[in-house]
């Protein structure tokens, strides 16, 4: 490790692995290290099952759980949007060849007292009991508007006279199409995937694009807009790690990271034990630089929760559990000092729970963008149910670190070209 590198990447979470892959592909000499002995950091899928129990300070699982190595338990609840940024990254980098996916069976909303399936296509929308007959027509008009919407193209706004992308709020758009409260709730949370209602008073462009992403994703593989990789989300960082390795990246796991070394306010290397690996840049997740990140505080509320509760359910059919078992993750953005009580409504929807693991994670953002000191820090994974913000962060970090957008044409994976 006593060598000189262009970039050292710390942590093998998904963001760091994508960045590492992109840097290696771009011809940078990359050293990629992790303090854990497994790949994936926060976005790992823990296997075998006893490792998960150990992680949560529990005695080993009993025999009823089946073979413990059949389990791959995610630490964060997320799915891929079929037409989203991560799928595009997977395709353009060729990493998709390492993975197999399943389309998630369906998505449902629970409001008041009933569970309703989110319509997967027009036919389902027409037969859905979420809306009355006239509401369905209004909703259809709204969907067509969202489908056509483009930020820069006024001709795509003609469904709503007077529309102004900078000023028209989402609630004004809903009002124009005369949608009722139920439809608005359902559209904002189950289609646009907002976690609370603050979007209503913001300019409509973002929400309209989210709705378009949802319906484009639906058109891709059917049933639901969500994809999930066999063997768990932990397969994603591993795929990008392999990309980095075959383009020359060096991997070291189980390596204590003692210090990021600075000289004259700029990064010059990383110290592990007695060794120092020299480099021009360091990329890392917030856990490696606790003194250079700030914790995001969400204001606490006593009544009327603002944030949605997400329940995700995967099973042995996704190769993440032994036969017959299901893994549910109930998650939310914590708003009170009694976090477990906040997700009770979600827990109550599940069948009998054999073992519950409760975890709270802080959300960190970097203090600086890295362009001054050459230390580029990713943000913690947020509470969204998909990877869209994850990819935006990665692309932004890559741009800050290299001064360029990533050039996908550099990924060749082609033996013939390499051999000449």
């Amino acid at each position: 490790m006593d060598e000189e590198y262009d970039c050292i990447v710390l942590g093998t979470g998904l963001k760091e692995c994508i960045i590492s892959g992109m840097l290696s592909v771009s011809g940078k000499k990359v050293l990629h290290m992790d303090r854990n002995k497994y790949y994936g950091g926060e976005s790992a899928s823990i296997t075998p099952l006893e490792d998960l129990f150990t992680k949560f300070g529990l005695p080993p699982p009993d025999e009823s759980y089946g073979r413990t190595r059949d389990w791959n338990v995610d630490l964060i609840p997320k799915f891929l949007m079929a037409n989203g940024q991560l799928v595009k990254l997977l395709i353009h980098t060729g990493v998709t060849r390492y993975l197999e996916f399943k389309s998630v069976e369906g998505s449902y909303v629970y409001k008041g007292t009933k569970i309703a399936k989110v319509p997967a296509d027009e036919k389902e929308a027409l037969t859905s009991d979420l809306m009355g007959m006239f509401e369905k027509r209004r909703f259809k008009n709204f969907l067509m508007f969202a489908q056509d919407y483009k930020d820069e193209d006024p001709s795509s706004w003609k469904g709503m006279p007077g529309f102004d992308p900078k000023n028209t709020t989402m609630s004004a758009v809903f009002a124009h199409f005369n949608l009722d409260k139920n439809t608005i709730d359902f559209t904002g949370h189950a289609l646009a995937l907002h976690r609370d209602d603050t979007y209503l008073s913001k300019p409509a462009g973002d929400s309209l694009k989210r709705i378009k992403l949802y319906s484009d994703s639906l058109a891709r593989y059917g049933k639901s807009p969500y994809l999930y990789p066999l063997y768990g989300l932990g397969e994603l960082p591993q795929g990008f790690a392999r990309l980095s390795a075959i383009y020359g990246g060096t991997y070291m796991l189980d390596k204590p990271i003692d210090e990021i070394v600075f000289e004259g306010g700029k990064v010059i290397g990383v110290k592990s034990g007695e060794e120092i690996a020299k480099c021009k840049q360091v990329y890392c997740d917030p856990s490696y630089v606790q003194d250079k990140v700030k914790k995001i505080i969400i204001p606490q509320k006593q009544v009327n929760r603002n944030s949605d509760i997400y329940v995700s359910l995967v099973s042995y059919t996704h190769q993440v559990a032994a036969k017959g078992w299901f893994i549910a993750i109930v998650s939310t953005t914590v708003e009170t000092d009694k976090p477990e009580a906040e997700i009770k409504a979600g827990l109550d929807l599940l069948g009998p729970i054999k073992q519950k693991f409760v975890t709270l994670s802080d959300i960190y953002k970097p203090d600086t963008d890295g362009t001054e000191n050459n230390l580029f820090i990713s943000e913690s994974y947020d509470a969204t149910s998909h990877f869209e913000t994850t990819c935006l962060d990665v692309l932004s970090i890559y741009r800050r670190g290299t001064g360029d957008d990533f050039d996908f044409s550099k990924v060749t994976h082609n033996l013939g070209e390499e051999e000449v």
Binding site: Y39, K88, I91, I246, M252, L415
Partner: protein, 207 residues
């Protein structure tokens, strides 16, 4: 568009750093050999596919995967093993150490690719007077593995000796196994690979 599971047979190379896995890969892919001194980096090498005819009508497409050098200082990702139909345990005939550690690699294979057929390959057979791993050693190893090993081979990537024969034999064995497993496979048809949608230009910007 979703495409159903592809019929290729994924074959992975396992073993210590420096035993000749990438050399086997090169022989397989381009039938060439590069000596260590003018070996270029293996950048961008991922996997390579080749069809072997097992009889007049039946072919098997071997898809050989190299480690990408990840085993040098870290561990190989468990993903590498996933969906593998076969694994070749490679060691160097002149290095007892590379042979003795194979039980460790074997453990990884049965853990992460439990349905894979496993083959044993002693490489660097051309180093005639430095061979320190005997046929008897290899036999003992196979016995100790409770006959998990479906075939043993001795190869020289330098001369090419035994390499093609090994892959032909492996493809035969996989072809036979494949026929009997076709029905089982249909159970797992609803997973898929994602591929670029037709009509979308390859270089479209994702930003």
């Amino acid at each position: 568009m979703a495409s159903v599971k592809v019929p290729e047979q994924k074959v992975i190379l396992c073993g210590e750093y420096g035993v000749g896995k990438t050399s086997l890969f090169r022989r397989f892919a381009t039938n060439t050999f590069v000596t260590s001194t003018d070996r270029k980096s293996t950048l961008g090498l991922d996997h390579y596919e080749k069809v072997y005819m097992t009889d007049e009508h039946q072919g098997v497409k071997l898809q050989l995967w190299d480690t990408g050098g990840m085993e040098r200082v870290a561990s190989i990702t468990s993903s590498y093993y996933k969906f593998a139909e076969a694994a070749i345990l490679v060691f160097s005939l002149d290095s007892p150490d590379s042979f003795n550690i194979l039980s460790q690699h074997l453990l990884d294979i049965v853990t992460y690719a439990e349905n894979a057929k496993i083959f044993l390959c002693g490489n660097k057979y051309d180093l005639k007077n430095q061979i320190h791993v005997t046929d008897a050693d290899m036999e003992t190893f196979c016995e100790q593995c409770h006959n998990l090993i479906s075939g043993t081979y001795k190869t020289s990537c330098k001369t090419g000796q035994g390499v093609e024969e090994m892959f032909i034999d492996i493809s035969k064995q996989l072809g036979e196994a494949n026929r009997s497993r076709k029905e089982l496979d249909s159970l797992n048809k609803n997973s898929f690979k994602i591929t670029p949608p037709e009509g979308e230009p390859e270089d479209s910007c994702i930003c």
